[in-house]
């Protein structure tokens, strides 16, 4: 993308004031997105993202600039303009770049650019049929197909010169069920760090049916009772609770500034004994995986919590300087338009020993949150709020009926202590995680877990 000579010149320009570290992130990305509503392809768009981000550190100060005018003169001008925000004079010696090839852990069999648009649309039609055909109450089906091939180059003043190609594919189905004047929606959106071979693993028809099942179940459900009671959170996308309520607090972005409830607590007990939690960006072909992070550090398995004890954080270079810790391969960004920071990759609670049946049987009265919607959290207070997309009432150890409209609210660190049962059925689900360095693909995950008490907000106020 850029010649080594130009890279060296830009890094020099970036260090022309008091900077002690400079980095270039160049990107050439090809995206495809196609939308189908009720079986009709409404629009399709392809695009090329193309630009360079330049980052400079001076101690723990950082400056970031980006442009998509990649002419040498402009890149050097941008580097100098960014450098001007830092005081001091240059102390840079000669720069030697060591080209470092990446071990590719995520084989891509079918590049999306080699697949005709018509073939992509066929897969969408199958998903549509799977959803539409599920039940007569399904009134709307929206199918979205996305693929992206991100080609990146990373170079820095420590001499690193590396690159990666990330290919991701996703199919997202939203089904709406109608009954009288009411509508309810269900969503399922599987994705992988894979090319079109993803559809060897994922049956689009089943994906559609899964979204439809949620919508149909919920349109026929009563409202959930509000109050504080035990909640059994199912596996796969149920891991969003850990992602939102705890994962963000384990990112160096919030730890370094002391705003996280987990700051300064390594070695302390932060969760009940049955909880072990991991972030692993190296799982082959997982949605949140990549060979290297967006600073060029190889991804790896990082144990965050082990048997309830806090073991580590997710750390990027800049916050690593603040915390005196090494980067963990978690520095990520949406694109060259964002400075990278510590983010989750594939984050999950490890499998335990109970079975789902045991957990339900041992719950006298509670909520079974089978599919979770998204959620949000205030990282300073740990307060979270997220929606239960598909919920059921548990009574006397049995699932008795579907309930809708429930939201779970509480504080992440309090919930961690209240997880009292963990099943053996670990699975991961896909999401897009939004934070200060943009929207990035991330897996959440867990086995089925039980939380002894959570505040459930529902439509039926008071009981």
């Amino acid at each position: 993308m850029l010649s080594e000579k130009l890279i060296a010149e830009v890094l020099h320009a970036a260090l022309s004031t008091g900077g002690d570290f400079a980095e270039i992130f160049a990107e050439d990305t090809y995206n495809t997105s196609i939308n189908m509503i009720n079986g009709i392809v409404e629009d399709g768009i392809q695009g090329r993202d193309h630009g360079v981000g330049i980052r400079i550190f001076q101690g723990v100060r950082s400056v970031y600039a980006y442009t998509n005018d990649l002419t040498p003169a402009n890149l050097i001008r941008v580097a100098k303009e960014a450098a001007a925000a830092l005081p001091g004079a240059s102390s840079v010696q000669t720069l030697v770049l060591n080209r470092c090839a990446v071990d590719n852990m995520h084989l891509i069999k079918i590049r999306p650019s080699d697949v005709p648009q018509a073939r992509k649309v066929e897969v969408m039609r199958e998903a549509h049929t799977g959803a539409q055909g599920y039940d007569q109450q399904i009134s709307q089906v929206t199918v979205r197909y996305l693929d992206t091939e991100q080609n990146i180059l990373i170079a820095n003043s420590e001499g690193l010169l590396t690159g990666d190609r990330r290919v991701r594919t996703r199919l997202a189905v939203q089904a709406i069920a109608t009954k009288g004047n009411e509508k309810q929606s269900g969503f399922y959106g599987p994705g992988r760090h894979m090319g079109f071979e993803m559809f060897d693993l994922i049956n689009p028809r089943e994906a559609g049916a899964r979204a439809a099942k949620i919508a149909v179940t919920m349109i026929n459900a009563d409202y959930a009772p509000s109050g504080r009671y035990p909640v059994v959170i199912h596996n796969e996308f149920g891991g969003v609770i850990f992602h939102e309520a705890c994962g963000h607090g384990l990112e160096a972005t919030s730890v370094a500034k002391g705003t996280s409830v987990f700051a300064g607590r390594i070695g302390e007990k932060v969760a009940s004994d049955v909880v072990t939690a991991v972030d692993d960006g190296s799982i082959p072909n997982a949605w949140g995986s990549q060979n290297i992070d967006d600073e060029g550090t190889p991804t790896r398995r990082n144990v965050l919590i082990e048997n309830g004890i806090l073991k580590g954080y997710m750390v990027d270079k800049l916050n690593g300087r603040r915390m005196g810790m090494e980067p963990t391969g978690n520095s990520r960004r949406q694109s060259y338009k964002f400075a990278p920071t510590s983010r989750m990759t594939n984050t999950f609670i490890e499998a335990g020993e109970s079975t789902v049946e045991e957990i339900i049987k041992n719950t006298e009265k509670g909520l079974f949150a089978k599919s979770m919607g998204g959620g949000s959290v205030n990282p300073a207070t740990g307060e979270f709020n997220f929606a239960v997309m598909e919920g059921y009432l548990i009574e006397n150890g049995e699932i008795v009926k579907p309930v809708r409209g429930a939201t779970l609210i509480g504080k992440g660190h309090e919930i961690l202590m209240k997880i009292d049962m963990v099943a053996n059925n670990l699975a991961r689900g896909q999401g897009m995680c939004g934070s200060i360095s943009g929207s990035i693909p991330a897996d959440v995950g867990q086995p089925t877990i039980r939380v002894s008490e959570i505040t459930v907000g529902g439509r039926e106020g008071g009981n």
């Binding site: 695009g47 950082s62 970031y64 400075a339 919607g373 997220f386």
Partner: protein
């Protein structure tokens, strides 16, 4: 490459590739954002970026493509990608390439003096955010956001039917948030504002307001579950309105995704509620002279005294319904397809101040912020169940803070349950759903989940 030259190359290449009609939508944006932490510039972001979107008709169908690189390779890429996409489109929607309105309004979107404010001023303002907030009270633990920024953008649209328009916009903004700690409690208070006249920007005042708000939330308690009379303060009301603003889009209506489909001309809200889309507000985030299809903008009374008068239209939905476009075609960026979005979208302010609303509330709750909008709100059914916090009010006086509650209800019911509309209209920072604003709203009743029993 210059955008006008790039346009000529694309149109020429498109014509020889058999594209029938073509339209270029280009945007170029310069931005600066400064974040201060512990008296240091923690983040300093500069950018200069843009790109071009092409939409074109091929064999009767519309394809889209975009590129951020304005080079010869991209000319070919755009034309090929548009063609490939057009070939898989089923939609029979009639898309019109608009030749242009007879005239375009003058809208104040650009303030030349703002371009002259040096980067240092942004740094100083962010430092002042932090300094003032940190020293405002001993219970301020840290200032987790002290941010200032600026953007200026140029939008250009041209097509093969003769349309060629452009406009320039600039705005600055500030955001400050303080973390308050006392006796193991942690609360945050924040304040944000968009600014066009730098001289009127008072970061110290904003910082003090943020701290005051954080302090006011200390010693919060939950409340017994039940039905409460509620004031949705302007910011909370605005968040809820923004979340559900999509139901007023004619596109949602025509696709059956809005429950308002058959409600035109009927009373859907309390008489106190008038909702407008107004692109002429000087220096507001959503102001503009033309929309994403080059149609001259207009002010639209969406709800007038409770009656649903109009949906928001672009050319496609207007043609389908047999009306004129309301100038709400949106292209959030050159990468996006044409959709519908509000410009400046707000509930018209009433006559009562926020304090007067408190008096009229008597006993109840004030909600100042809601959480979980992207998950706890169903934009189709209107149902919401949201984490919330604010204050408890007795006899028209705030008597304490409230947290760990959820408020639940339905947007369409809420519109009917508005008893009073305050005079304190305020806009948020402009976002994807347009620039949304609201005054505080006094609501007859909302279901609140807190603790059990009394």
């Amino acid at each position: 490459m210059d955008i006008r030259k790039f346009k000529e190359l694309v149109f020429a290449a498109g014509r020889s590739a058999g594209l029938e009609e073509m339209e270029i939508y280009a945007a170029r944006t310069k931005e600066l954002e400064v974040r201060v932490y512990k008296s240091e510039v923690d983040n300093y972001n500069l950018s200069d970026e843009g790109g071009v979107g092409l939409r074109a008709r091929y064999a009767g169908k519309i394809g889209y493509a975009y590129t951020e690189a304005l080079d010869d390779q991209s000319v070919e890429y755009l034309v090929n990608a548009v063609k490939a996409n057009a070939q898989v489109i089923d939609s029979e929607d009639e898309i019109e390439f608009f030749a242009g309105s007879l005239s375009y309004p003058e809208v104040e979107t650009y303030y030349p003096e703002l371009d002259q404010v040096p980067a240092e001023e942004y740094i100083n303002a962010a430092l002042e955010f932090e300094r003032t907030a940190q020293s405002a009270d001993s219970r301020v633990d840290s200032v987790n956001w002290a941010l200032t920024g600026y953007f200026s953008s140029d939008v250009f649209i041209a097509n093969t039917e003769g349309l060629e328009q452009s406009f320039r916009q600039n705005l600055a903004y500030g955001f400050v948030s303080a973390v308050i700690r006392e006796n193991g409690q942690v609360k945050t208070g924040s304040k944000s504002k968009s600014i066009y006249d730098w001289a009127q920007f008072d970061p110290a005042a904003m910082a003090r307001e943020a701290v005051e708000e954080g302090l006011s939330l200390l010693n919060a308690e939950t409340v017994p579950s039940g039905n409460y009379r509620i004031i949705l303060r302007r910011d909370a009301a605005r968040s809820i309105l923004a979340t559900f603003s999509g139901v007023f889009s004619a596109e949602a209506v025509q696709k059956g995704l809005s429950l308002l489909g058959d409600k035109l001309g009927t009373q859907i809200a309390a008489e106190t509620v008038s909702l407008v889309d107004n692109p002429f507000v000087p220096h507001a985030g959503g102001s503009r002279p033309f929309d994403g299809e080059g149609v001259a903008v207009q002010k639209t009374d969406v709800i007038a005294k409770g009656q649903l008068n109009s949906f928001l239209h672009n050319l496609k939905t207007a043609k389908k319904q047999g009306v004129q476009s309301t100038g709400n075609a949106s292209r959030p960026s050159f990468k996006s397809t044409v959709g519908i979005a509000p410009t400046n979208f707000y509930i018209e302010p009433g006559e009562d101040s926020y304090n007067a609303l408190l008096t009229q509330l008597g006993d109840g709750l004030v909600i100042i912020d809601v959480q979980g909008l992207h998950s706890g709100a169903n934009p189709v059914s209107g149902d919401f169940s949201l984490g919330a916090y604010g204050y408890r009010v007795e006899n028209g006086k705030v008597v304490g803070a409230v947290d760990q509650i959820t408020i639940s209800g339905n947007f369409f019911t809420l519109l009917r349950d508005v008893e009073k509309v305050g005079s304190d209209l305020e806009f948020g920072l402009p976002g994807g759903a347009g620039n949304v604003g609201s005054p505080s709203l006094l609501i007859r009743g909302l279901s609140v989940a807190g603790r059990r029993g009394k």
